[in-house]
């Protein structure tokens, strides 16, 4: 049987055709770990026949197979990270060839050849040389880079505008107005305020935002002469909270009433923390509980316990999963980015408000894109004009 197959193979006229446009080049925008091979599809391709790609350290071998797939697979359009989403991808195949050099070691040249294998026979292309080199710039992330640059510029421009004209309009955020009220109420009742920073570490934007708000809260707490306690989940956050509060008390002109043990560490175990904080709530009966930052499952354990003590509860989180629980149990809830806006809103500093408006510009840009995309994109489908899908190309992320 094997002999027969061999015979057939030998007898078969070698009309296995080689594809056109075979080309090998260094993968752009990578760390030098691979090269790309591309070639045009054959006029007749079947799932039984395969493309094979080999690599070798020298022109005459030894050859090592690095890719093999049926002719009906491996399209350029499957790999927008290398080739984009343009219509030029039609009818082209590609393969990625791993570099010979170890990661981080100097680049090494290699030879690559393409083969066709199928019932009709086999054929191989002439080898081509390529050296995968590490690149210094990821051009496929240009759209991301431009967004970052543009957003930074807009932010700075709006900040400088805000400096010139500090009377910026910011709509009311009821949850933040209520904070002031809650602090006042705590003062009247002579009861403490409980402030939680969330469960993320200092390297989370929500926690950073929360400590910034704590600074503003501390100023008011100092001015009203109320007590505040900040049980912390993370030791670094505790340190930052202490710094922030100290400065808040200094800014309010009452450095002497600042107690460094107002922010204290509980434990970094999620439910140990909850048990302890719930205990504090039940025993100290704070007049107001602020939950600002990132929360996990403990949100409801905290807020529901707080609700039974009769405290005013104000929450703010960008943790989408926990928002429903805060909404159900708290008096006010800052939703998502309102948390980030809070510090700017409370501080009323023009610089901060300027960057808040930059967020709005970002949203307006997104709204415009969605609107444009809806109109143009729908037209593309209705009138069967794929060229109109250009917006998708602009915002595609190639990773």
């Amino acid at each position: 049987m094997r002999a027969l197959a061999l015979l057939l193979l030998l007898q078969a006229p070698l009309w296995a055709q080689l594809p056109e446009g075979f080309e090998v080049y260094d993968t752009p925008g990578d760390e030098g770990s691979s090269a790309l091979a591309v070639w045009k599809a054959l006029p007749k391709e079947t799932a039984d026949a395969s493309y094979v790609v080999w690599r070798a350290p020298a022109k005459d071998g030894p050859w090592e197979e690095v890719a093999r797939f049926p002719q009906t697979a491996g399209w350029k359009s499957d790999a927008p990270q290398h080739f984009g989403t343009g219509s030029g991808n039609k009818g082209w195949h590609w393969a990625s060839i791993p570099a010979l050099a170890e990661p981080g070691k100097p680049p090494v040249a290699m030879w690559v050849k393409l083969g066709v294998e199928g019932a009709g026979g086999a054929a191989e292309s002439a080898p081509a040389e390529v050296t995968p080199v590490p690149n210094w710039w990821a051009w496929n992330k240009l759209n991301v880079f431009l967004f970052v640059v543009a957003f930074t510029c807009v932010t700075f421009w709006l900040i400088s505008r805000a400096r010139r004209d500090p009377n910026l309009f910011i709509r009311r955020i009821p949850g933040l107005d209520a904070m002031e009220e809650a602090i006042g109420r705590a003062t009247e009742m002579g009861k403490p305020i409980l402030y939680l920073n969330g469960l993320n570490a200092m390297d989370s934007i929500s926690t950073i935002a929360s400590t910034c708000i704590l600074g503003q809260v501390a100023k008011r707490v100092a001015a009203y002469d109320t007590t505040i306690s900040v049980p912390c989940f993370d030791p670094v956050v505790m340190g930052v909270s202490q710094e922030v509060m100290r400065e808040g008390f200094i800014a309010a002109g009452r450095p002497d009433s600042y107690r460094s043990d107002a922010a204290f560490f509980v434990t970094s175990d999620q439910f140990g923390y909850v048990a302890a904080v719930d205990g504090i709530m039940i025993r100290e009966k704070p007049a107001a509980c602020f939950y600002l930052g990132y929360y996990y499952a403990e949100s409801l354990l905290l807020a529901e316990t707080g609700a039974t003590t009769g405290a005013i509860q104000i929450a703010g989180t960008d943790s989408v999963t926990q928002l429903p629980f805060f909404i159900a149990t708290c008096d006010y809830t800052l939703i998502g980015e309102e948390l980030y806006a809070a510090s700017a809103y409370l501080s009323r500093e023009p610089i901060q408000l300027g960057s808040l408006i930059a967020q709005d510009w970002g949203k307006l840009f997104l709204l415009a894109m969605i609107l444009l995309g809806t109109v143009v994109g729908s037209a593309a489908v209705v009138f069967r004009a794929p060229a109109l899908l250009f917006l998708k190309d602009l915002f595609a992320t190639y990773s």
Binding site: G279, I357, G373
Partner: protein, 287 residues
């Protein structure tokens, strides 16, 4: 946790030397402790009481002790102390890669800065470490967020809402309508979040629509979570049930009797000790 992993652990422990802590004695004792603390925590459902308070304080103490050791064994020792020690005294079989290890002096220095918080006069040095942590996070986050959150979420909305399919490649009305509603929803909710525009006129209409979408979404997430929360409760109740039978040496019943008796006794003491609540001024009612 149910009994299966414990029996499995027991087999394994038998293969290796179980030692005192892995031995059957400590295991059985552990289960008594586990059942006791489980019930003690549940007394919080009744109200705050000394039994819960005791469990809570044990919880905080044990978790801190464990986490301190854990961090040492998994982070500080292998990532900082051992490499630095090897830089001072290279082990015989490993030549020193000095230039790489010496970089560890940076986190070592910043860690020291952090610990300066213990010295009130030099506490400000911790700001250097704060700045490093906060700065690096912010930097890493910016490109990633644009790419993975903004662009990736925006992308599917740029192809319009009309979709075609089927044998005739006709417009799929139901799917298209669904996509259109999603688009309207995203548009409305984003409008609701605008800070610098007053919610008046057409903005108000969109913002109100946004709230409708938000409320449905929050309700849905709440409802969706019920199952998750109840499964945890089911898991715990299952544990108590397995420990209630003869296999579990009737631990649940025994501990339940102890915990209930303790709570009841302490409650009675408390009621006797405290004056009637009318003596306290009534706090203003929270809304």
């Amino acid at each position: 946790m149910n009994t299966l992993p414990l029996t499995l652990l027991a087999q394994e422990a038998a293969a290796a030397d179980p030692g005192f802590w892995g031995g059957p004695g400590m295991q059985a004792f552990g289960l008594w402790v586990a059942v006791g603390f489980t019930l003690a925590i549940y007394t919080f459902l009744y109200r705050d009481n000394p039994v819960f308070k005791f469990a809570e304080h044990v919880f905080v103490g044990v978790s801190n002790g464990y986490l301190l050791c854990y961090t040492w064994f998994t982070v500080v020792k292998p990532m900082l102390v051992v490499p630095l020690w090897h830089a001072i005294r290279p082990p015989a079989d490993k030549p020193l890669e000095a230039n790489e290890t010496l970089w560890l002096l940076v986190p070592a220095f910043l860690s020291l800065c952090m610990l300066m918080r213990f010295v009130p006069k030099a506490a400000w040095m911790s700001r250097w470490a704060f700045a490093f942590m906060v700065g690096t996070t912010s930097g890493v986050l910016i490109p990633l967020t644009v790419q993975a959150q903004i662009y990736k979420q925006l992308f599917p909305m740029l192809g319009g809402f009309v979709s075609r399919g089927g044998d005739t490649d006709a417009v799929l009305w139901v799917a298209s309508l669904k996509s259109l509603l999603i688009l309207i929803g995203v548009f409305a909710v984003l409008t609701y979040f605008l800070f610098s525009v007053e919610h008046k006129g057409p903005v108000r209409v969109f913002a109100r629509t946004g709230i409708v979408f938000l409320m449905i979404a929050f309700g849905a997430s709440f409802g969706y979570t019920v199952m998750a929360r109840e499964s945890l409760l089911i898991g715990r109740v299952k544990f108590l049930i397995t420990q209630a039978g003869s296999e579990g040496k009737y631990r649940t019943f025994a501990m339940m009797a102890v915990v209930v008796a303790l709570v009841a006794a302490l409650e009675m003491l408390r009621v006797r000790a405290t004056p009637p609540p009318a003596a306290e001024p009534a706090p203003p009612e929270a809304k």
